[in-house]
Assembly symmetry: C2
Homo-oligomer: 345 residues x 2
């Protein structure tokens, strides 16, 4: 910058002024400065700038597993919005490990990121001090319990309700659900919605029909085998997670159970490949990309200092969309009856 100033025959302050447009500079000098910048291939040093201004224009996104199809879409939404606003984003994969998550948060803090977007891991409390300190942080997808925070997520209770309701409308009465750890707000919410729908229709929720496990396909497979081996077996299956859904489908296939004739299945998340299954899968599609964008927008408000409503936080819940395909059909016990027909997409 000194060199640029010298070459342009002005002071460093003037260079700074034209770079930032903070103060008016005469046209002629502006031109000279720009020429000098080009000639010297000068690029303002963001590090120095950050030290001075206290802002880095960097945010971080910490997520539990980039390898789960849900998150890349989320990251993309947030990253695009962030980039458009002049922010870069540091990606931190916590690998579903609270300790790892805390380490990430610590280094992020040391790096002076301007804000963080986080899909928190089970049992983590690393962020409590952050929200208490009013550090700009907004939670995405997974929300912490008992904390008044800024957050954006799918309306999971509604989504769980929709899933159950779809099966109920098809005449199913014995419906089972496989979910992830219930300390994760997403799974707790979906289960709650499921229960609510069942209760509304005076349908029992048998304990053996609710299976809680980790988010692996292998677990879904095991649960599928177990559930379908029950007497009586469920005629409807809901998977609260896309990986477990894979396992569920594998179990059904190995059991040679006709789907949807004998058992209907509905899953969460709607990656392209759901349309390649036989049968094509009925799913609840989350507005993942949109959640990412909204989350960044909200974070920006926090970074600007706009406060959330005190004590409650600002949480924005987006609706999931039911996509009816071929894996759900009328309950075998109601075959031939007149049921509300599902609209296929």
């Amino acid at each position: 910058m000194r060199d640029v100033a010298r070459l342009a025959g002005v002071s460093v302050a003037t260079v700074s002024a034209v770079v930032n447009g903070s103060v008016p500079v005469s046209a002629e000098r502006t031109r000279k400065v720009r020429d000098a910048m080009d000639a010297l291939d000068y690029h303002p040093d963001h590090v120095a700038r950050s030290l001075k201004t206290g802002r880095t224009n960097v945010i971080a996104m910490v997520i539990p597993d980039i390898t789960n199809v849900f998150f890349p879409e989320l990251v993309r939404g947030a990253e695009e919005a962030a980039n458009q606003a002049g922010y870069s984003v540091i990606l931190c994969d916590s690998n579903e490990d609270p300790a790892q998550e805390r380490r990430h948060l610590d280094t992020l803090f040391a790096r002076r990121v301007d804000g963080v977007l986080i899909a928190c891991t089970d049992a983590s409390t690393a962020y409590e001090s952050l929200v208490r300190r009013r550090f700009p942080i907004v939670f995405v997808d997974r929300l912490p319990q008992g904390l008044a925070v800024s957050a954006v997520s799918t309306d999971n209770v509604d989504a769980g309700y929709q899933a159950a309701r779809h099966l109920i409308d098809l005449g199913h009465e014995r419906i089972a659900i496989v979910t992830g750890n219930l300390r994760l707000s997403t799974h707790a919410g979906r289960l709650e919605g499921f229960r609510r729908a069942m209760q509304e229709h005076h349908l029992p929720v048998r304990d053996e029909y609710v299976r809680v496990g980790d988010l692996q396909a292998s677990t879904g497979y095991r649960f599928g085998l177990e559930l379908l081996g029950l007497d009586p077996p469920p005629t409807g299956l809901i998977s609260s997670n896309n990986r477990m859904l894979l396992g569920l489908m594998r179990a059904i296939r190995e059991l040679s159970l006709p789907c949807p004739e004998q058992v209907s299945v509905i899953g969460f998340d709607d990656p392209v490949w759901t349309g390649n299954f036989s049968p094509r899968l009925t799913t609840l599609a989350q507005p993942t990309y949109e959640i990412g964008r909204c989350a960044f927008a909200m974070l920006q408000r926090r970074m600007r200092g706009e406060p959330e409503a005190p004590g409650v936080g600002e949480v924005s819940l987006l609706k999931a969309e039911l996509r009816v395909r071929e894996s759900t059909a009328a309950s075998p016990s109601r075959e031939g009856e007149m049921l509300r027909p599902a609209v296929s997409i």
Copy 2:
């Protein structure tokens, strides 16, 4: 830091010394400093440190599309390795757009990242000046043409060869391939391997059997319909890309062509869901995670200043692994003949 020094009754230099362990400090003072740090909840400011040292301990990873299953795995490998070495990683999605890629590179440079890992987009030349300037950059997966660079990728020629060879061994003679833009080294390589195998076995490669398009499922679908409508149609299909494979399978299904009886299919990349298709998909699995790790390791060597061999660059090619499942079988024209049996996994 001043406060910490004051509280501990030492100088800032001493504080710096205990924080960095750069210079020995007496046990007693060390303890005092640590206590003061805790008491004040002091966290060293990486920004200031970077300004001073000229190193940020941040690298960037620029990729064309986080939404393609291949990349999350790659990112994870690189990120884990980077984190273990004390680096954070900025993620930049270029969205397959050279202009976007260049913008990213510019801001990354301004941010003084210590190095970058890049899967370059077609037609991009944004990085030429970087490699010429000897900026630490290593290319992953997709390599630029005609530049001596550091890179790690799958051995795509070998992988394409393996794919074709597998079908040839099964007796197929009419084999078609769908690939992405051939300016992408990955697709060019796979096609080359395919051609080589065909040539070695004196099999013709008909022009209509080579389809080059973008990386979308819809394109794969269209190509599938077109290829299978040819007279004579191919009995073996290779997809150079995981998304196009999805489209291919959809086309086969809509045509009600029995797979693998009438047509064998083999694809690239091996995400979990390949095992959920009917039939289960034969694929070439890339060592994606490993590529990410290797790439970071190589980048670290560049950042340390260890030079690559002049004029050639250091490129490390990892082998893909053929996973034979159910979507490939003996060519219908050779039904009943004795063929080398494939080992199923």
